[in-house]
Symmetry: D2
């Protein structure tokens, strides 16, 4: 019998930044991430709700982008099962020991079948929970990582990998218009919320954004105020607003290197296994912004390129099979 594995949730992400000091000002001093550890090439950050070492690694690099995305497994004994599956899919893999990424146990990395540098880990060093240290809550009062949003040329194939390969369930999806609708985007989850991973049609593999959970709409508005009063107004790319999909209240930010993150709150519990996916049509204007505002073009065009997990080179990007944007987004400049 092949060894099984169980993914608990999206775990952490590695953003590539050119200037760690500037990144620290943005993420720690302004947004309110907690600095767990730093070395000349990395900042390891966690949210106020995290009880482990990090949910965001900032790595010094000449070029911005994403080093890897990472999923938390139930335990270390699940590693072997994931490695086996990846290899069976023809993916190169390698073991990452604690000294390569601080604060975490032995982990397996791979370029997944979609081309993303992905890591699976089963243990992380415990760290202080700051939920009740309210005097240290700042900026957006970021609680924890919530999800990754990935751009892929072929959502149907990506969906198959995440659902059949990795065991994700689908909470919401978007289909193209017409009599023969095709899957254009999907929101997939292991933890019972709206999602751990969203797959969207686009030039990829690229990471559109990482979503971080905050307590409520007030935290998002307060964060916008603090960004605006500390010279980061231009970091606010879209929002605040409410999504149709996920029902979440959001604010999209670009860090000083252009990497994108979302502050996100107010989605729902999706625990029941008979959850029927909520279906949206691509051109429904309330799908992306329930209140109707159309995202700026940068939000459609820009995304973070990803590294080859072995060479560190950026992975080549392919064009999508389906239309890249809703019709209303094509029309705007």
């Amino acid at each position: 019998m092949s060894p099984s594995f169980d993914i608990v949730r999206s775990g952490h992400i590695e953003f590539l930044v050119r200037d760690l000091a500037e990144a620290r000002r943005f993420y720690v001093d302004t947004l309110g991430f907690v600095l767990t550890q730093s070395d000349p090439n990395h900042l390891y950050l966690r949210g106020l709700e995290d009880r482990h070492h990090h949910c965001l690694v900032l790595t010094r690099s000449d070029t911005p982008g994403v080093g890897h995305i990472s999923f938390r497994l139930r335990g270390q004994s699940d590693l072997e099962g994931v490695e086996l599956l990846l290899k069976a899919k023809g993916c190169a893999t390698r073991w990452v020991e604690g000294d390569e990424e601080s604060g975490q146990g032995r982990a397996v990395r791979a370029q997944d079948p979609l081309g993303f540098p992905v890591e699976f880990y089963g243990w992380m060093e415990p760290k202080e929970w700051l939920v009740r240290k309210f005097q240290e809550h700042r900026g957006g009062r970021v609680m924890r990582l919530d999800h990754f949003n990935l751009l892929v040329p072929d959502v149907a194939a990506a969906y198959s990998w995440y659902s059949e390969g990795l065991g994700f369930g689908c909470t919401e999806l978007t289909e193209t218009e017409g009599a023969q609708p095709e899957l254009w985007a999907a929101w997939l989850r292991r933890k019972p919320t709206c999602h751990d991973v969203a797959l969207t049609t686009g030039r990829g593999p690229r990471v559109h954004h990482a979503g971080f959970f905050v307590t409520d709409r007030g935290a998002i508005m307060d964060c916008a105020d603090v960004l605006a009063s500390t010279g980061y107004a231009s970091s606010i790319e879209r929002g605040p607003g409410r999504h149709g999909i996920s029902n979440a209240f959001f604010l999209y930010l670009r860090d000083p290197d252009g990497n994108r993150l979302e502050l996100y709150t107010g989605d729902y519990l999706s625990a029941d296994p008979d959850w029927e996916p909520i279906r949206w049509k691509l051109n429904d204007p309330q799908r992306q912004t329930f209140w109707g505002a159309i995202p700026p073009q940068s939000w459609f065009n820009d995304a973070m390129e990803v590294r080859d997990f072995e060479s560190g080179a950026f992975v080549p990007i392919a064009s999508p099979k389906l239309q890249e944007k809703p019709d209303y987004a094509v029309e705007i400049r």
Copy 2:
């Protein structure tokens, strides 16, 4: 000695609408205004905090726009003083009795020196205060009228009328760039908040919007949700966001006839008579939206035309002496 008068605050506004039933759905059922009285040609609405008959009159008309704006005087004995001043300025005036506008005492109307149809009144019929009837609070939980925003070709002249003629104080102002800055916009108040009237350079006389006060940011966000779930997403024109000027949190709406109103909260007390106006440069991107987002072109281009107080015809519009928009607004489509 000439009779004196004392303006207490901006009082109410008359919006022209083509379909009273549709307007009622928008203002009463959705936004949460309170219907005080109706007849075949009018809806008289008040906010939850109003203790008087109305702060918004909706009048049936073939063409949308503004019938008149109105200021509350200390009492009926102040009417004569205002009339005298208007006449001294060469403005035609006439008396409005209670049967022309329901729920209000004798009032004086005029076309003011700026071309706006303006009314002054000193008494209005008391009505139930609904602040503590929380079960009837709906939509945006609109509390009361806060201000008028007027577009005028010559802000300096308009400023002079409001400050010297009517006794308004200035809380904030906008100047053009350069070594010889000129007054481009001014926020003026009688009640000690940010403003009762804003004067902005533009094609005028036109009313850009009427601002209505709501309790907090939550009411504004809840209102956007309700608008979006009742088919009014396209009524949301701009926001939510925070203004630089006024520091208020805002949402701009267009009613089914295109008339514009603002939900507004979180400005400040400006009671001290030595208040020094806060000065802004026209091209400061944080002036209009503290968070940096540029308003849509409709917000710059559209405004409500105003009626001649005698003939009911719409008042001809003149072009402004100074530039009509900030530079950043000229550049966007």
Copy 3:
């Protein structure tokens, strides 16, 4: 191999009420529960986020109290495994068909080893999701059931049943003071939040309250305002405030029959299987109310008695083995 089962979450609860019309005024018209179905003896209610038939059943009865608590299983095929376990523990069980409790599939009921009438079900009829119908959100905008809080004479024994028998994990616990601390209370979960079930030392078996999830602190405050303006001020028993345990923001209510429910928001994700329970001392004054206010005596003394699942008689109550209240609660009247 014995059949396995998997509890997904706390599912619903049955409150006994003397007057369904009065209960409907409280739960539906005021708190904002959604009425899915009614018959002369029952109201079936759901929250705005529920996609199934009910999370709260109100049953007409001469005496208030709790008819049963109920857990959602992964599916109908899990029923047999639960029944087997209950029988192995010596509990009487019986099958409940859809016609006994509307909107739900075949279910198994039992008097559990702690004396509670408990039901397990694996299917419920889908119903409309009202999350995005914001115009219908009222009162406390109740989203869904979150947890049951149970009073038991022997927490250690109850803990063993829920953890070893039913597979619950522990997120937080309370111990008595002294060198030999004993387990006084435990917060246990299947879904990865703070809890699905809390076990507290007390005269039992009794249900202290059912907790219902709401979106944010604003919903709780708005609900208190609506309760107070509709004659239900005396229904507000405790709060609003923040718990130390769970970190949640809360409001405790008593329905017209004295049954107790909690509006609850702002706990945390507890997905990681290596979650180390957060430990509290019984007499820590910030444990119950982080802000320090001591709950009223009614909150310590009153709770809902539970029915025998077969006879319908109320189950006899036993005194706890450990002290019934924190020291500070003994001292107040």
Copy 4:
């Protein structure tokens, strides 16, 4: 013609504290007051919205209490008129120069007819407005002073002094029960909000609390969280909750010396001169707390004694003519 004067608003208050360092930790580091100036015997604090030197003076003293309350006049030319009135009422007065109280122009002090040490001033040194420096907003994000709440043995006499002598209008009042109701408390204003001064029946002259305005309910809840996580849970005396009178959302705090302040938000505009006072009965349980919770006994019993403006001795206290507490407060311990 006697010189006239015009009181603009309640201006500032002087609290006596035993330890300036501890007071600074509480007011500046925790509540978020802004430190404008300090010397070995004083801290001069302002709110985020204040554009002047201070709204709260903390003065080192062996005994806590209130040094003086102070009202802002329209300008320096109003000083003479106030002095004249005070002298006409038989009150001793003296001039305070800028070197006695920093940051303020020449002022007149007196023991008013009610026995309170009161100051009137017409100019204060401008200071930076921190409304838009959101990164410096902390704790309760205190904006400005809002009102004083005074305990007096004879409310009718005090009402007469404030209304006829000083020109205050009445927004709300409380009467005793019965066929011959007597005035038990009154809320009086110069600025058009609920109040600048509240007069309540009690042993006096004493100051019950000073009310400080905060932006919204979120600021109050966040402040309670910060107080609780920094060791100040016992400083939270009452609330959060909503008042019936004033409709404001409140939190009552005791500073480390026992002086009482209120964080206060959400009252209303009372600009119209024909405002009819809102009337309450003394024993209406929703008058003090709209949600019904009875304040703790300390809230009824404790208040700040006031100094003789010349000798510095504390002013003797007299018992009230009417009942000291609502009936429901007498009954509780």
